[in-house]
Each structure stands twice: as structure tokens, then as C-alpha cells.
Subunit: 263 residues, 2 copies
């Protein structure tokens, strides 16, 4: 999942990708941070970037550079003078905050926010997530514009995230929720299909025959238990057909005569 | 949750915080990336950082700078020459990969990996997560050392993450799960504790030596690949210590002389 080349390809989004929440960066300071946010957004399938009075101006060459190819997000970013303008068309806005605010609002985690945002997406609502400037975070006036706040629970002894990392964690929770239908764990099998029980038992029988032949089963009383343990161990492998052949090859080679060698 | 001051405070971890998985960075290139990984780790309550041959040397001033106060993680980082050394005491290792690998291993997402890692933590197993160099990712030989792989599902049109972002997403899934008491599925292991990588590699070496001895590796060009496939197959077994001894017993018996029999 890491970088694999020097000149970043222009990133894209599949055509049928659902529209995610807008990401509103309020008075971001550094262009390079905006670029890294754009990158994190596109990683997570988010494309609607809104900038409120970026300190170092816009457009920004360093934003393009650090976006690592998320150029479309940068090019389509919309510029606003006030936070109120930036959220005016949205129906549900979440403000990210680190500090406790003396305001009565629902508080979400990335995960619970993702659940809420998807529920609203189903109802065709336009939603957005606001992030404050790098150092100070959102002002209380900005937070007051939001319907809810979001706090990322982290190690209480060390909870500072940079802007792009906050966008990434929250964006990923949204993306993860989107892909909820995908089964989580699967085993990659390459080309070879999974072994049948017949393949597997054949390989086990081959192994047991050779072990017998070599005098491995010293105590006949213990043999059934020993056999079961070995079989049980290999059964966990959940082998491919190719792997049962490899195992047979190993057994055959090991049980064979020692190769003649030149002394 | 963003930066709030200029001189970072030294980050800490609550005393009762449970030990998380080790983070193994294999041949990281830039010190600044190592520092950002340390920061992401400590955000998520992870402290066991292991470095395999960092390209620009160690210790690193830029790592300290970009760690933003995660100094303890940097100071306690352990240095190794090979990936095998770095994981030798671990009982369950996950390799992060972006590309498809033609290897049969369980594939986790950050979320499902977190479930697995917590289940193993409950059983006092030492676990680790490996990350490859910034550009190229882990080699197939490194991946073969792992019990499973982890892939972060992201926008397929733009899925490249930098190293620290990958550590953050995976670390955060772990941290999030920590707050979640849900019991997970685990494999019953009877009396014998899980094998360490040292036990496992010892058994593999024994097998390879005997296969070599028996002339199994006919084609020297194909040998590295064949060895990797065999090692990879057995790595999936996630053996107990007892099972590594059983495997050695099997290899020894098979490779031994045919028993004299009364005709």
C-alpha cells in the first residue's frame, strides 16, 4: 500500500462511486498540508474539497506536489471567504475538535460518524466535515455552525494528529463503512484450486505410509493419537491442490535414498 | 485533535496500557518517515518499534524531529540486520502489502487484523506487523516470514499511502478495538504455547537441509522460489512449539535409513 513510483499517476475515482461528504478546511496554513489532505481524501473516495481563506493563497504549487496525484481533488477545490459560505448548501455538518467545547452537541467518533453519514447519504442529504487550522483548531463560532462534533479517541497521553492524518482516519472510517459488504477475511490462493478431501487424504496416506516404513511409529498403542495429531496439524493448512503435490514431493524426496555424492 | 503548540511535549502512555503489537519497519529509507511512524504509533498506544537496516542509519535526528514528541518510541527502537532477526521472538506476524502476492495466506483488513491481534493478546502471544520500504514494499522473502498479510482496502483508482499513514490506519484500528470488549474467534491450542519464529525457522532449516541432502532441489535457479513456497505453506500452520518438534521428528524419520525388516 506504499508508494511504488516517483512520478505519481493522476488518481481517479470509479464512475459509480457514491458521493461522499465534503471536506471543509477552515483557514489551513500550509499548501503542503492541503495537498496531503487531498491525497488522504482521494484514498478514501472523497473528492469535494472546500477551502476557507487558505493563509498562503490558492492555487498552491506545494499542494499539487504533496497531493501525490490527487490532482482532480486540488483542481476542483472550491474557495470560500467564510465558513458559513462554505457549508451553506450542506444539510448536516460535523466539526472535528480536539478540545472539549462547552456546547451541547452530539459527539461522534470516526466510526459512529461514518454510520450517521451513510444513513444521511441514503436520504440524499449533503453532508460535510469541517477541520480547523493546523495549530489552533476550529473557533467556537465555526463549531457553532455544525450539527455535531467529532473527536478521534487516541492515546490520552499523546493525541495530537496532523491535519492530513485526521482527514485520513475519518475518511477511512467512511470508506470502510461503504465497503461493509466485502467479506473481511479471505485466503488468496493464486492459480491452484483448493484441494479436495481426496487430494488431502492421499497426501496424508503417502506421509503415513512412509513414516510407517521408516519406523516412526514406535509404540502401536500411541499410533492412532500420533496420526491424528499429524493429520490435524496439516488439516489446518487448508491446502491447494498444488500444495498437496508439493507435500507428496517432499515426502518422496525425504524418504528416498541419500544421493550419491562425489567425496 | 490537531497540533496545538510549537514545542511538542514528550508523549506518554498510561501505565496500565496493554502491550500492543510490534511495528517492524523493513529497510525504511528516510529518517523523517520513521519519526512520523513513531508518532502514529504512540497516537494509537503502540510503542515497540523495530527497524531492519534503515537506509540512512540510526539514530536519526530527523526521526526525532518528525516524531513530534514520540521520543520514547524512538529511543527504545530496536535495530536488526535482517527481517528474520526482527521477528524471531514473535508468535504471529502480519505483513502489509499493496500488491497481490501469489502466496496462500490469510488476508486481513485493518479491522479484521485488529480482531485477530486482540484475540492473540488475550492469550499472551507476541505479535507484530511488518511494513516494507517506502517505494518498493516488502519482498516476497519478507512476506514469506509472516503468518498472514494485511491489505488496506482503499479507492482502487488511488490507493497509495505513505508509510506513516499505513501505520496510523492499522494502529488506529487496533486502538479502536481495544475499547471494544467483543470476544473474538481464536484457535484452541491445547497445552503447548505457540511456536516462536525461532522454533519455526529451526524446523524449516532442518527440513531444507534434509531436502538438500536428498537432492530435492534439482534446479538451483528455481530453488529460492521452491523454498519460499514450502516455507510459506508451513508458515500458515501457525504451529505450536510441540508441533515444530513433531515436524522435526517427521523429517528426521523420513530422512533416516529404511528400517531393517525380517523377510
Amino acid at each position: 500500500m506504499q508508494d511504488t513510483n516517483n512520478t505519481p499517476k493522476r488518481g481517479a475515482l470509479p464512475d459509480d462511486h457514491p458521493q461522499g461528504p465534503a471536506v471543509i478546511l477552515v483557514e489551513p496554513q500550509l499548501g503542503k498540508n492541503i495537498g496531503m489532505c487531498a491525497r488522504a481524501m482521494l484514498n478514501c473516495g472523497l473528492t469535494d474539497l472546500r477551502l476557507v481563506s487558505p493563509r498562503d493563497g490558492w492555487p498552491s504549487g506545494s499542494a499539487i506536489q504533496t497531493s501525490s496525484g490527487a490532482i482532480g481533488v486540488i483542481e476542483n477545490a472550491k474557495l470560500y471567504e467564510t465558513t458559513a459560505d462554505a457549508v451553506s448548501d450542506l444539510q448536516f455538518v460535523i466539526a472535528t475538535t480536539a478540545r472539549e467545547r462547552d456546547m451541547v452537541k452530539p459527539v461522534y467518533t470516526p466510526h459512529s460518524a461514518a454510520v450517521e453519514l451513510h444513513a444521511r447519504r441514503m436520504q440524499k442529504q449533503n453532508c460535510g466535515i469541517m477541520f480547523g487550522p493546523e495549530r489552533a483548531g476550529l473557533t467556537n463560532d465555526d463549531v457553532a455552525l455544525a450539527n455535531a462534533v467529532l473527536n478521534v479517541p487516541l492515546n490520552p497521553g499523546f493525541s495530537s494528529l496532523n491535519l492530513a492524518q485526521a482527514v485520513l482516519l475519518i475518511g477511512y472510517a467512511w470508506y470502510e463503512k461503504l465497503a461493509d459488504e466485502t467479506p473481511a477475511i479471505y485466503t488468496r490462493r493464486g492459480e491452484s484450486p483448493p484441494a479436495t478431501q481426496l487430494d488431502f487424504n492421499g497426501a496424508m496416506q503417502h506421509l503415513m505410509d512412509e513414516l510407517e516404513n521408516k519406523g516412526f511409529f514406535l509404540n502401536p498403542d500411541k499410533r492412532p493419537n500420533t496420526e491424528r495429531n499429524i493429520r490435524n496439524m496439516f488439516a489446518r493448512l487448508d491446502m491447494t491442490q498444488q500444495e498437496t503435490r508439493t507435500l507428496r514431493g517432499i515426502v518422496k524426496a525425504l524418504a528416498g535414498k541419500k544421493k550419491a555424492r562425489a567425496e
